[in-house]
Symmetry: C2
Subunit: 329 residues, 2 copies
Amino acid sequence: MSSPAAAPRVGDLSEGAILRTILERLGPSRAQVGPGDDAAVLAAPDGRIVATTDTLVHGPDFRLAWSSAFDLGWKAAAVNLADVAAMGARPTALLVALAMPDDTPLSFVEGLADGLRAACDALAPGCAVEGGDLTVSDTLTIAVTALGALDGRDPLLRSGARPGDVVAVAGELGRAARGLAVLFGRFRDASGSPVPVDEAALSADESTDLARQLRPSPPVGLGPVAADAGATALMDVSDGLVLDATRMATASRVTIRLDGSAVGPEPALSGGEDHALLATFPPEAGLPQGFRTIGRVEAAGADPVLVDGVVPAGRGGWDPYRDWDATRG
Amino acid sequence: MSSPAAAPRVGDLSEGAILRTILERLGPSRAQVGPGDDAAVLAAPDGRIVATTDTLVHGPDFRLAWSSAFDLGWKAAAVNLADVAAMGARPTALLVALAMPDDTPLSFVEGLADGLRAACDALAPGCAVEGGDLTVSDTLTIAVTALGALDGRDPLLRSGARPGDVVAVAGELGRAARGLAVLFGRFRDASGSPVPVDEAALSADESTDLARQLRPSPPVGLGPVAADAGATALMDVSDGLVLDATRMATASRVTIRLDGSAVGPEPALSGGEDHALLATFPPEAGLPQGFRTIGRVEAAGADPVLVDGVVPAGRGGWDPYRDWDATRG
């Protein structure tokens, strides 16, 4: 039994009061002008800025029965940090546009802010939330923009892979998809609606899989490392290795041959949301620590991607407009 | 009677196909790396970048019965361009995160892209959409991030107003609120639901008011002009003059005295969404063309803002968590 004063909802509060609550939890700004003015002013030391945006929407992207506010803040940060890293860049700032129902508890906003901060601290030290926007919406939506610095490096595009290059990956493949399978397979009621996770019912492996689904840990720091090691192409594996390798092969006008035993069993080939980094390196370059070889680039053949010499079955990945599972919660 | 092929919906199409449709309408990229990779790479010529984000949500921020797709694209761009201008900066790029129901017609996405491009061309030539994100959502949501360049200027904060400064404004005050009143007063059915606007039923003045509500035209180019003219503070009037002047006065620890006859009759004092620029200039500086004097800065008194020497009635502005009108449509 909590009184309204003890458990305030955002609809009870002014925008300013909600903002103050968030800002207190985000820690000190590192920007030239941080939150509170019309816009932030951020350093772009080498005269360029890397910028990307990615949104989490209640329903297609998460269910509140499964994800805590902390999880959502973490994930919203992590997926954007990975996109900055995938250019060979160092994340420097996030902007967070938060649209939420007016009955959202203030404690949810607090947890979200904590998750955003924790992900920045763990994955991209020095990066912080430096601006944002609050709006009312029927659908909880977290739209994050991440900015980053190249520090004099050339940006790593997905179009740079060349025949003869080694194909390598840093980070995990398939764990987040296994975690999603745990949720869909084990934590829904008879009608298919999500029910809270019973951690005690999970094996240690399942627990790790679930953690990777809810709080992905992309190897953000390895983006600039790949650039320094001479990588020719780099991208984030967000929609599944085969689908994203197909995008890289198409952009680079090459064929990518993957070694199934190096990649590992499904869902390593088709599972999304791990946000591993897929890279190509010249054959003479040594792979930097954290990357492992999973294939080879060849001149363009009939198919953009082959796994053990064979065209992979299915589309091998996730498309939000084709594959949306309508389960909500 | 249109066939599915003649009137495709986004749920019928792949993310790639929707993206191609959007990109074709946005025109050429001006970025070092434009749309299509994990992130964009943009020039930040003086080693700094201005960054802001603002979201339009179906329900609280717009109704589809009243706003066309073009209107929404225009407005989503305009409100963000105004925030960049309000720092004294020149907008250089937008990122657009679009979350929409899967039954959204592709023609809606086309209209939105056209509106984004038209607003950039009209309000901030040289600025273009350079990245974005597509997601499925029950609630149509347009989250835009705008980036800008200071070109060597100091950023203009809302905290810089000094006693003795002239208070000035560029752009219109109250027209967007009058346009909103036209919509709420004249174009709802007996149950209060929005119905389409009958342009023929509007006077010329009402038509202009409505156009300003649906497609605001902030004086974006005057942000850098104010900086060059020596402005001490600058901000975007998005929530109403009195409320935003209160924010400036509080941040600057001063009192702002407004001259009611210079401001004009209500809703010029309390109406939001015009995105005029509120500035302060030293008394010795001449006002640049486009700005008009509306008041004077004094040492902090008991109240942050006075209108003709009197504390203004009400809060004088808009707060999304307090003032949300629940009308949807």
